[in-house]
Amino acid sequence: MSDKGFKLSIPHDSVERNLGILTVFIALLVAIGGIVEVVPGYYLEDSEPAVEGVRPYTPLELEGYAIYRKEGCYLCHSQMIRPFRDEKERYGHFSLAAESKYDHNYVWGSKRTGPELARLGGKYSDAWHVQHMRAPRSVVPESVMPNYAWLEDNVLDTGITKGRMEALRTLGTPYSQDDIDNWESDLKAQASVDDETDAQTALRARYERNKWVNKSGDVEQWTDSFKPTPLNIRAFDGDASDVTEMDALVAYLQMLGTHVHFEEGVDYYHDKFGQLYRK
């Protein structure tokens, strides 16, 4: 061997002869990095500074998120704007950590085969989205996105909507029992033409509120002067007769990135941290 004559300065020989020592060393050593990088995130306040306006998803938006995940949209679209000039020009303010705090799982993505979507809400009309899903190349000739024509044909399966909300509540999302009990009325009300019906007024009251309490009693209270972003209530796919997968997905997309009210001239990375952002 080429290193003949060298003596290893550490007593490695005993490690190689002893399976117990070898496995214990390996098992401990490979655990360190992950623990140091992941665990403090739950304890250090600046890993997810609080920000007013970020609320849990409505039942319809929640179903929209599920379709986003089911169709694998996150594989070609990111939802994480980086703090660069070109990204600000193209997509808007950089994403804050708290803006995805209700995303189990996160959908930041890792690839932009298609454009960034973190602040897509309100950028295009519902009709544009519907046409774009049906046939992307009819509105963006260069697009390589698949046609998603089945979304407007498929009636939304709401079999587990309540189960989804209950699961999220268990995981810490501040849905109240009232929110969960009214899931069906809320879902239908949001996908209907806005006539300010009683159901729609109740839906607004539930998701435009300033106080959120989770299952373990943690309270998130926004200042009284803060007006939460108004809900989008309409027949998103242009057809109020039924609630389709298209309704849910467009409701989700039209909400993206609209919760935080960014003020001009405020440095959301440094200035606000430690003041408003602290609970």
Partner: protein
């Protein structure tokens, strides 16, 4: 201590894994070529939910990583552990159970993905109940491996086995913790983590699936098959000790470099970048040890396609473990992140390093478990077609990735963005077509390999028949 006779080893289990790895390698690269073609020619989505890119992409990644890579790792682990410990596998029954569960889990995954049943975590898409099947398989695999080492008739545990042990422990950790989820029903579960935390856990998983499944395990393969095949001892024992422990320690920290300039804490990003740069040394330690082991046998490159696969694999390993740290540097990542450069980088590792060293190990095992290959010429064709496909793929993605990154950040003299996003998509088309052709070449290579395997198995069977006829006559 003398080696036990070969009849005492359980090779049936290895043979089955070898065949499965090659069949699934062909399937996985075919899926890859299909989705690559969809990006070049979107009409190939056929307006079908079951074939659309978003649902089909995990079919490719899971088949190549966990089916092809997985069965290759099961095959080599059971082969190497018996041969270097001079003892029969501890429990053949448990090993069979591990393999059957792995196959069942993967088949379930490949059925559920087109149906849109997914956890939505990259490279960990299988829903919670499939996760459990796969995790049980992995634990059984680890137990069989560790117990076989425990029964060894040699005094020292060979270096290849250290790497396999590292892989088994770490993959168990990351798979279980990243998979923690609250099921709603059989088709849906929510990750236990949200937002920034989920992102950190996901990339702790994502990068260490690369670092341990695709690196530590494959380095273990390299440490057995390279010295064995060229008939020379490992170049430096000391280097293997140092690079083993440093690799085990450092790889774990790298996940954060997938999240540069995102909303995760700055210190985590910097730590991820720093550790990535440090990792060049242990990575290159492995590459140098492998290459220098071949030194003195270079003349065999003229005649031996397996050795060609090995040397090119190590060259790609060295290249992509230099490229990775480069891309982890924040200012480089600012350009490369979200672009095809990442895809190119992954495939220089996956097609160049992982596939080539796996193919070399598989050919080596076929020759030792059945008989010499049906056709050396076809192995040679496989080598060249795979190399050409890989280079075509990787260069296409490098060019398209850098172009994308530069187009996105281009400003004109008046401070306006020069290109729309759609402009950058249009500019990618020739590269996407080129990538699809590269992928097709790799797929054809796997087809040739499978044909060669089938022919070799048929020849082995015929020879066996002749032998029994001769002995009974």
């Amino acid at each position: 201590m003398s080696a036990v006779s070969h009849q005492e080893y359980d090779y049936d289990i290895v043979k089955v894994c070898v065949v499965l790895a090659i069949v699934l390698g062909l399937a996985g690269t075919f899926f890859g070529t299909f989705i690559a073609s969809q990006l070049a020619w979107p009409v190939l989505n056929f307006d079908s939910p079951y074939l659309s890119f978003g649902r089909f992409r995990p079919m490719h990644t899971n088949t190549v990583i966990f089916a092809f890579g997985g069965f290759m790792l099961y095959a080599t682990a059971f082969y190497i552990v018996q041969r270097t410990c001079h003892v029969r596998i501890w429990s053949s029954k448990m090993a069979w159970a591990a393999i059957i569960l792995w196959l069942v889990g993967l088949v379930c995954a490949l059925i559920t993905y087109p149906l849109g049943i997914t956890q939505g975590k990259e490279y960990h898409e299988a829903e919670w109940w499939i996760d459990i099947i796969l995790a049980v398989s992995w634990v059984l695999y680890t137990i069989v491996f560790v117990m076989t080492i425990k029964n060894r008739r040699t005094s020292h545990i060979y270096v290849a086995l250290w790497f396999f042990l590292g892989m088994m422990f770490m993959v168990a950790y990351i798979f279980v913790f990243n998979g923690l989820a609250l099921p709603v029903d059989m088709t849906f579960s929510y990750s236990a983590y949200a937002g920034v935390h989920d992102a950190m856990v996901q990339w702790w998983w994502g990068h260490n699936a690369v670092g341990f499944f695709l690196t530590a395990g494959f380095i273990g393969v390299m440490y057995y098959f390279v010295p064995k095949h060229v008939g020379r001892p490992i170049f430096s024992y000391r280097l293997s000790v140092i690079h083993f422990w440093s690799l085990m320690y450092l790889y774990v920290w790298l996940g954060a470099h997938h999240l540069q300039y995102t909303a995760i804490p700055g210190w985590t990003q910097s730590l991820g970048a720093g550790m990535s740069i440090a990792l060049i040394f242990p990575s290159w330690g492995g590459m140098i040890n492998g290459m220098m082991t071949m030194s003195g046998s270079w003349h065999k490159l003229r005649t031996d396609p397996i050795m060609r696969f090995m040397i090119v694999a190590l060259a790609f390993y060295g290249m992509s473990t230099f490229e990775g740290p480069l891309m982890a540097i924040k200012s480089v990542n600012a350009l490369s992140h979200y672009t095809d450069w990442t895809v190119g980088h992954v495939h220089s590792g996956a097609l160049g390093w992982n596939a080539m060293i796996a193919i070399a190990a598989l050919y080596h095992m076929i020759i030792h478990l059945w008989r010499p290959m049906h056709s050396t010429q076809l192995m040679n064709v496989h080598f060249w077609i795979h190399t050409a496909g890989t280079i075509l793929y990787v260069t296409a993605m490098w060019a398209s990735g850098v172009l994308q990154g530069l187009m996105w950040r281009a400003f004109d003299d008046y401070g306006n963005l020069v290109y729309t996003f759609a402009d950058s998509v249009a500019a990618m088309h020739p590269f996407y077509a080129m990538r699809a052709i590269g992928g097709a070449l790799v797929t054809v290579g796997f087809g040739i390999m499978l044909y060669n395997l089938v022919k070799t198995m048929q020849a082995a069977k015929a020879e066996e028949g002749q032998q029994t006829a001769a002995t009974s006559a």
